[in-house]
Amino acid sequence: MNTPPLQSESANELYASLPPELRTELAHYEQSVTVPEGTNLIKRGVLPDQLVIVNSGKVEITFDCVRESVSVDCAAEGKVFGMRAVVSGELPEADVTSQESCHVTLIPRNAFLGVVRQHPQMYFAIAKILSSDLVMAQRLLKTSLRRRASKGAGGPLVRWPH
């Protein structure tokens, strides 16, 4: 079967684990946009209406640690954001903001969940994405513990770079 090339097919972490027919199905719901620097693609505490796939450009992930904001990571093309919130309804813990002009693909939450309901085998691809999100959270936790241990429990709060 010849599958038409898709806009966001270029090795994003979701599509990399999906068969061509499912990529084609999701492509019906895709919306591609270019966003300027400083656009808040995912806002912490707000349930996103869509999955965000970064096709080009860099984004920054920041976690609000109550008294300060922690820059967790920078990500580039291929990264998918909002998966945990979309599949579980849990509010996002981090902000995702474009660091430059970015080309992104958006897949509406309800459309995505509809495809997942019809094709539950997609959970394998979903688990892979959630897994990499968890790795990121675990690394932040380790850094946080290490800094605290080196400063002592009674010491000042961990200082994070902004």
Binding site: E90, V135, L141, A153, G154
Partner: protein, 240 residues
Amino acid sequence: MAYNFKIIEDCLKCTFREQRLFCDLSREALLKLQNIKATSVYPKGALLCLEGQPPRGVFVLCTGRAKLSTTSSEGKSMILRIAEPGEVLGLTAAVSGTPYEATVETLETSQANFISQTEFLRFLQDFPDVGLRVARQLTHNCKCAYGEIRSLALSNSVPEKLAKLILQWAEHPLEMPGKRPYETAIRVTLTQEEIAQLTGTSRETVSRVLSSFRKKSWIKVKGATWTILNRQALEGLVTT
């Protein structure tokens, strides 16, 4: 019975299945799981996997508890969290093919079912309900990790952190005949050194703070059984 629990050989007959995040699978998936798992009982202190090691597979913790720890650049061990029965350990490493994120060590005699990475990935692909369970556990773990990060940033005092930990453990109380209605008994298998690793402090400080809790009659410690005598006082310490 050589252990203080019954070894569960057959997942289909496991009575805890419905309460567990991962194990409540379809009959077909359970039959497959039965074929691909290797059941073992590990003594206290057994290392299931090591941080940085390439993934070999996952361990489904059936009975017992295990600590997930990491090491600082100075070689100091720090506990990330305590895994409870029903958790799949080594999940992120097996799914993403990255090295194990933490060292997993049993805190008490434990039963765990080992599934090789290849078999587990095939199992995940072939049974959508397994994928759904795995996604739920990953979501839960992620939420816990962010909660821990916040808690570390917020809790400044060791008494507050210890009070929080004790109240957290009290969510799984021990059944103790004869205890007063306001008392909550918990089983604590961690040493003071491990509690220190979990709260990012020293063993001496943990000892001092627990001693002050005891003197104020907030808790009673008898071996591994701790009894919360004044829950309100402990809750009063927790500001976050």
